[in-house]
Symmetry: C2
Subunit: 316 residues, 2 copies
């Protein structure tokens, strides 16, 4: 039997799991609802039970299994200590220890955004790079920073928390984190809709957005691509804040490429081209002209990345 | 004979060199003027000749010498390629290769600010940490970022270039780098003097600074410590921009501590306390309450750090 590993991505509503061979080929994948009752720990128990069931179903032997990688929606330290699972009920615990109560093989855990970055680096939009930043523009803005092939988890697992980079001194609305002027307030799907509504209120300027039944980030990008001036301004503003934040990141870690993922990234090159234009204004010469790429793994980035997390920790 | 190594710090006006034992004890140190004629390469030749002379003088045998570490005032890649020596004449070359034309032992090179950070981590204000940011506030603002004990040099050697983090959208004066609103314009010695002169011009407010024959960063801090309101405002402004930039850095790499070095850091705790206050306003909760320390090695940080650079690359 060829050696395999599991990559698990724990989300707020669903757990995704994939079975991979040692070269990173996705062999099968599944999804089930995240257990939201009880403590954060109970989710881990649930995941471990699921893996045990799959191992039995697929008739896998322990010696065929290289390990399980797990992506978690919260800060995770390098030693797999979970500090906080704000969205999934509190609880401080060590994921490796918890999982080992149920399964015998190697366990490695990482923050979901960091793990997604590893996935994109390994098999997605960041393939071929060794120093890469993944910005995930979804309901919020997440980030994963990889330098010399290794995730920068930081001293408390809060490395790559780029959604809360401060970018606007003028902001009066408060971000979910309690601060004002976070990148997430402008560049998440929610943030883009907020900017669009503000722009519509601030002027009488005609715009296709005024006819939309409901404004989504997609509507804004679609109208901008159609040449709608107000929508283009909104896109430009979101991309300027992304350019500023990326400039900050580059001054700190000097990556080779920025990869844009998450639902908003479906807008495509309008996003990468526009961010690049602004980025170059805010960064020193030696850091200009980085690569700006779109993520390619979509919702599977997390399972790829958690598989890579465990594969890179074991002898193959 | 006990094993030794050399740590060299090439500056714009002087080259500093130190002889260290394998445990990092400084045994002797010297300084000589930087050769500023010819190409950047010629400086390396000069340094190599100096080391050869010292090896002969001290009657050192090749087998006693663990290597030479060299700190360079410009971007250096992990492989010791030097990309640019703007202040020391241009020239693209590999430092290890250049040095090996003259000396036989191990050579490792790094950017001067990064190397100083390693020095402070090893034997100075950052002792005991594994994840640390050194901000050097001198004529300019330099930075060195260490994560898991390793310098983040970045893909082109421009990692940790924190002096050019964009912090102020309102700025109209241009920084040496060609951009507007860089941290260096407010937090370097020159930047603090600039802020003080602006404040004096902008109002009639009485201030001891108005009686100063020449305003230096030291004058500003001395007056602020004396309770001079205008000087205190200037210090507060410089520290706010530092707090903002440090917040950006923390959102990217989540260090344990910020260490402040360079001539300006002689101001002492007024600086660290003030930066910390502002930092906490601009950073998410999980990143609050980092340590803010003063550097302790002064001008020797570079020779300590380059010694560490080579010691960490050899078997001891």
């Amino acid at each position: 039997m060829k050696k395999v590993c599991f990559g698990v991505d724990i989300g707020g509503t669903a757990v995704k799991a994939g079975l991979f061979d040692a070269e990173g080929k996705l062999l099968d994948k599944w999804s089930f609802p995240t257990k939201v009752t009880g403590q954060g720990k109970d989710i881990i128990t649930d995941v471990a039970e699921f893996i045990k069931k799959k191992v039995a179903e697929l008739n896998l032997q322990n010696e065929d299994i290289l390990g399980i990688g797990v992506g978690i929606p919260g800060p995770v330290k390098d030693n797999s200590d979970v500090l906080e699972l704000a969205n999934l009920g509190q609880g401080y615990f060590n994921i490796e220890e918890e999982m080992h109560k149920y399964v015998d093989f190697k366990v490695k855990a990482g923050n979901d955004a960091n793990v997604a970055a590893l996935g994109e680096l390994w098999q997605g939009g960041g393939k071929g790079y060794n120093n890469m930043v993944l910005a995930t523009l979804g309901t919020g803005v997440g980030g994963g920073i990889i330098i010399n092939g290794t995730v920068i988890a930081g001293s408390n697992g809060a490395g790559g928390e780029i959604g809360h980079i401060f970018v606007n001194k003028e902001e009066t609305d408060t971000c979910g984190c309690g601060k004002q002027g976070c990148l997430e307030q402008y560049a998440s799907a929610t943030g883009i809709v907020r900017l669009a509504k503000q722009a519509l209120e601030a002027s009488e300027e005609p715009s296709k957005l005024r006819n939309a039944k409901e404004i989504s980030a997609k509507t804004v990008f679609d109208c901008a691509k159609d040449g709608d001036a107000l929508a283009m301004e909104v896109v430009d503003k979101a991309c300027e804040y992304l350019g500023i934040a990326f400039a900050h990141i580059a001054q700190v870690v000097d990556p080779e490429a920025f990869v844009i993922g998450g639902g908003v990234s479906k807008a495509g090159e309008i996003l990468t081209e526009n961010i690049k234009k602004h980025y170059n204004k805010y960064v020193m010469d030696a850091l200009k002209n980085k690569e700006f790429k779109l993520a390619t793994l979509g919702n599977d980035a997390g399972i790829y990345g958690s598989a890579m997390l465990v594969l890179s920790a074991v002898e193959r």
